[in-house]
């Protein structure tokens, strides 16, 4: 094996599993430490720079960071008295938003004098808002168009207020518009050519995936009055147009929209609300915690049922008939749902909410507008620059590659903003800026580190919830109450500080084995070099997780190599503490993605 090139910023970035998994690459351990220190405003600003919507995401993020969290690989069930669980990263983010100083806005940038260039953003959701934020601070004049009366897009219309209070949206949208140079036009865009005719210097399309997939079964038309498309229905609830639903409600679909629909229905008079999905319970697209929350509100989830027909009588819905199926996997592992042969099942209901997927829809982009689409109806884009076949038009968020989520929209927005800025100052947009990296030793004394290196064995703390009876009464009452500072501190202490890296300098090593002996996870081995496959099996403990790198150090006097399995390292620093020569050091690796503001500084 070759010695590890720790100069490549990706190497240590990858060790910080949460940051690596985050589409926006938020420096998670850093802000968690700040929360533990009670420095909520600083923690908030790290998030604000990176993911733009800390308060919103702290409640609603899809949190790809959490399944990646190292904590869920190293916990011991008997020690933590429960199953292995990641740090509650997402909910800690909310803590930063909840407890930050009231005058947080003074830390945010203000727009400089206008540079004379104008940019249109179509759609007022998270992707457009990110583009607006990143470019407004550079002097661009931003115009955001949206069909709804307020900015926020799907954040505002699709996410029920009992999960995300509107005040949080107003606040965080306000931080962006507060920068200046951003104009919001409450106007539905019906023609791309008309937009292009306005001679904007660039156009960003962040209009989401606004069309809910239809249910195509007999009876759909006849019972249309009581069958609602989920996202449209949620939007209507959000704006107060819909305030009631029948007592018996069936929600079709297994994604997060379905979860929002069923929980909203429970608050609008639905007493017997069920979610019915085609797939198995495990394969549902909804996040596990959203399923849990739904079931916690007495909503059963029935699986392997495919809707066959909507039954109705006298123009009024009576129920839905389902065919029972089971999953069969072919040789390639692809799943097919085949009839189980059991009798069809009929469920009575007063209303049906259809949440079986979303589709992109660009009826307003004319065929001759210079923007090409692929066979799935998605725009043809450069995946790194988000540029369409019309060079001044960029796409991001759900409009780019189909429905994803808020954090992806923010990440897309940052990248598109870089492209737009580079294009408008005449640089090659395909040259992407490198991240900003700072790596500093944390050693304070012989046995002292500037971070809390003693890992706790606490199990994940639960976020307190409002009592169910109360929560179901009021659609505006937020269910999750958030961690209080004390709980937040305890949860923050579960973080292993994976960004404090173990850095090895072979030339200093005397091969005394002190690090090998002290390592609680048996991560370190001094051994003869060989092929990675073989080396992985002859370490102090076998390194079976091949998605995690081996750190290889050389320059040892015996000609052996030092191999550290990054997989389960606790970053406790004991290797460095027991090292007599300083061959090991614990260094904090702070990595920040470069946004448009700094993207073009070559010096």
């Amino acid at each position: 094996m070759k010695p590890t090139d720790i100069k490549n910023p990706d190497y240590f970035h990858k060790v910080v599993d949460c940051q690596w998994a985050c589409p926006a690459h938020t420096p998670v351990p850093e802000y968690i430490r700040l929360i533990a220190h009670g420095r909520y405003s600083d923690a908030y600003m790290i998030n604000w720079k990176s993911n733009v919507f800390p308060g919103i995401l702290g409640r609603t993020c899809d949190r790809p960071c959490e399944p990646a969290c190292r904590r869920s690989r190293v916990e011991d069930e008997t020690l933590v008295k429960g199953k292995k669980e990641p740090v509650a990263i997402c909910r800690l983010k909310r803590v930063a938003a909840d407890y930050k100083d009231d005058d947080i806005a003074i830390h945010m940038p203000k727009a400089p004098a206008r540079n004379g260039k104008r940019i249109a953003c179509i759609g007022g959701g998270p992707a457009s808002l990110t583009v607006a934020r990143d470019l407004a601070v550079l002097g661009y004049e931003i115009v955001i168009y949206d069909q709804d009366p307020k900015l926020g897009g799907f954040i505002r219309t699709q996410i029920p207020h009992f999960r995300l209070p509107e005040s949080v949206i107003d606040e965080e949208v306000g931080y962006i518009t507060g920068i200046g140079n951003i104009e919001f036009r409450h106007q539905r865009i019906d023609s791309m050519k008309a937009v292009l005719a306005e001679k904007y210097d660039a156009v960003f399309v962040g209009c989401g995936a606004p069309r809910g997939r239809e249910l195509d079964v007999p009876g759909r038309q006849e019972a249309a009055a009581n069958i609602h498309i989920g996202i449209d229905w949620l939007s209507s609830v959000s704006f107060g147009h819909t305030t009631k639903v029948g007592k018996r409600v069936i929600v079709l679909g297994g994604g997060n929209t379905a979860m929002d629909c069923c929980r909203t229905a429970r608050r609008l008079g639905g007493e017997d609300v069920k979610v019915i999905v085609r797939s198995g319970f495990e394969e549902m697209k909804a996040s596990p915690w959203e399923k849990e929350d739904a079931m916690g509100e007495d909503i059963p989830i029935l699986n392997f049922l495919v809707p066959k027909e909507v039954t109705h009588e006298g123009g009024k819905i009576t129920g839905v008939l389902f065919e029972k199926v089971r999953a069969e996997y072919d040789a390639k592992g692809r799943r097919n749902l085949v009839p189980s042969g059991e009798p069809d099942q009929h469920f009575e209901c007063d209303d049906v909410l259809v949440a079986i997927g979303q589709e992109n829809s660009f009826p307003w982009i004319e065929k001759d507008a210079g923007i090409e689409f692929d066979k799935w109806g998605l725009p043809k884009l450069n995946e790194a620059t988000f540029q369409s076949t019309q060079p001044t038009v960029f796409f991001g968020g759900d409009a780019a590659f189909g429905p994803k989520n808020i954090i992806w929209a923010a990440a897309h927005g940052h990248d598109a903003a870089i492209s737009i800025h580079k294009m408008l100052i005449g640089e090659n947009i395909e040259e992407r800026p490198a991240p900003g990296v700072n790596i500093v030793s944390q050693k304070m004394g012989i046995h002292e580190w500037s971070y809390d290196n003693d890992p706790t064995v606490d199990k994940r703390f639960k976020v307190p919830h409002r009592a169910k009876v109360e929560a179901l009464k009021d659609i505006m009452a937020e269910v999750e109450l958030g961690f209080d500072p004390e709980l937040a501190f305890k949860e923050a202490q579960r973080c292993l500080n994976c960004d404090v890296q173990t850095v090895f300098e072979g030339k200093l090593c005397i091969e005394c084995d002190a690090c090998v002996d002290i390592c609680p996870m048996d991560c370190i081995t001094f051994t003869d070099n060989g092929e990675e496959k073989d080396v992985r099996l002859r370490l102090s403990a076998p390194a079976v997780n091949v998605s995690q790198d081996l750190y290889v150090g050389n320059d040892l006097k015996t000609g052996r190599i030092m191999v550290k399995d990054e997989d389960v390292c606790l970053h406790c620093g004991l290797c460095a503490e027991r090292c007599p020569t300083g061959a090991w050091d614990m260094r904090k690796y702070y990595m920040e993605m470069t946004h448009a503001e700094h993207a073009c500084r070559k010096h």
């Binding site: 580190w449 003693d454 005397i510 084995d513 002996d517 996870m521 048996d522 027991r578 007599p580």
Partner: protein
């Protein structure tokens, strides 16, 4: 924030042995020895050996004297018995403990000062009495606790950290132990656990006086150029005579060896010692040859390591004294004080 105890979290693949313990269960308190001390590696090797032998920790008695090495028992097999004796007097206490309760597994841990200087007399006698034990000397050639003066095992001519050459002859504990009648004698290096762990296992399974001289570099005072007990020097001059595979009990032998490359020695408890030859022909059961080879190595400036001498059928102190099989500390008053009639009989027999 400072000096944390070793986290309880452990590698997910950690497995329990037949005694129901993981390797981590055989650890002790976190070491307070200097970072990089060879003694910590020896402690780790003892932990590994006890884990692999499925030893019940409460059946182990660790005894030590005074010095850096003698602090070490705190850092391994925490759930066992321990005794820190007066300087150099560990052998007497261990002999007494062994007489009182022959069922425990005795481990003596000492240093070059504790065993070769103040305790040299005690060292010689425990070997010649054949106390059933594993006696490990963590040998670094200096007095670490008093800032690095030469100890009695420092080689003549080796240079101190301050640059002064040692003018005294060194005491070779290996030669002394063989001479004094120890029935299992080996030498190893703290930086080579592949060699050390099987040696410790075999010594613990040995039914007599087992002695291991383990070179253990003192990072603070004896790891410089000119030292003959530094990591670098020992690695360069290490002359391993054999590689030991310790095979417990009557388990099936799965490793294949080329004919003529292996010597097998069966110990009294049935355990097998398989010695893989490294280069020269060496017969560790030949006491005279062993002494000769060790002395030759010494003269040539080699650090001769491996299993140097073993008597596969050792006799221990209890055998010499013809004591009962039951530990003396479990005998009742009736057995220990059989009464005036028995005394009369004994007195009569002496008249």
């Amino acid at each position: 924030m400072t000096y944390i105890t070793k986290p309880k979290l452990h590698h997910p693949s950690l497995v329990k042995n037949k005694a129901g313990y993981t390797r981590r269960d055989y650890e002790g308190a976190v070491s307070t020895l200097c970072a990089g001390c060879g003694h910590d590696s020896i402690s780790a090797a003892i932990i590994q050996a006890c884990y692999e032998l499925d030893i019940l920790p409460h059946q182990v008695a660790k005894l030590s004297g005074i010095g850096c090495s003698s602090k070490a028992p705190t850092y391994f097999v925490g759930a066992s018995h321990g005794f820190n004796t007066v300087h150099g007097r560990m052998p007497s206490v261990m002999t007494g403990a062994n007489l009182a309760n022959r069922d425990l597994i005795y481990m003596g841990v000492s240093g070059d000062g504790d065993s070769a200087s103040i305790g040299l007399g005690q060292f010689a006698h425990i070997m010649r009495r054949g106390v059933n034990m594993t006696y490990i000397v963590m040998n670094n050639g200096v007095y670490g606790l008093t800032k690095g003066q030469f100890s009695a095992t420092a080689d003549k001519g080796s240079i101190s950290k301050k640059g002064v050459a040692n003018s005294d002859e060194s005491i070779d504990l290996v030669s002394l132990a063989i001479l004094m009648g120890a029935s299992f004698v080996g030498r190893s290096f703290s930086g080579d656990k592949h060699q050390l762990v099987p040696l410790i296992k075999a010594a613990m399974a040995h039914g007599g006086a087992a002695f291991l001289d383990v070179i253990s570099p003192c990072v603070a005072f004896n790891n410089h150029a000119g030292s003959t007990k530094s990591y670098e020097y020992v690695r360069e001059h290490n002359e391993a005579l054999n590689r030991l595979d310790f095979i417990e009990g009557r388990e099936e032998i799965t490793t294949q060896y080329d004919p003529g490359t292996v010597t097998t020695v069966q110990q009294h408890d049935g355990s097998l010692l398989r010695l893989r030859k490294l280069g020269e022909d060496y017969d560790p059961s030949d006491k005279i040859a062993a002494m000769k080879r060790v002395q030759e190595g010494q003269a040539a400036g080699e650090v001769v390591t491996g299993l140097l001498y073993v008597d596969p059928t050792p006799r221990d102190l209890h055998h010499h004294l013809n004591t009962v099989a039951q530990p003396l500390n479990t005998l009742g008053t009736a057995d220990l004080c059989p009464g005036p009639a028995a005394l009369d009989r004994i007195n009569a027999s002496l008249r």
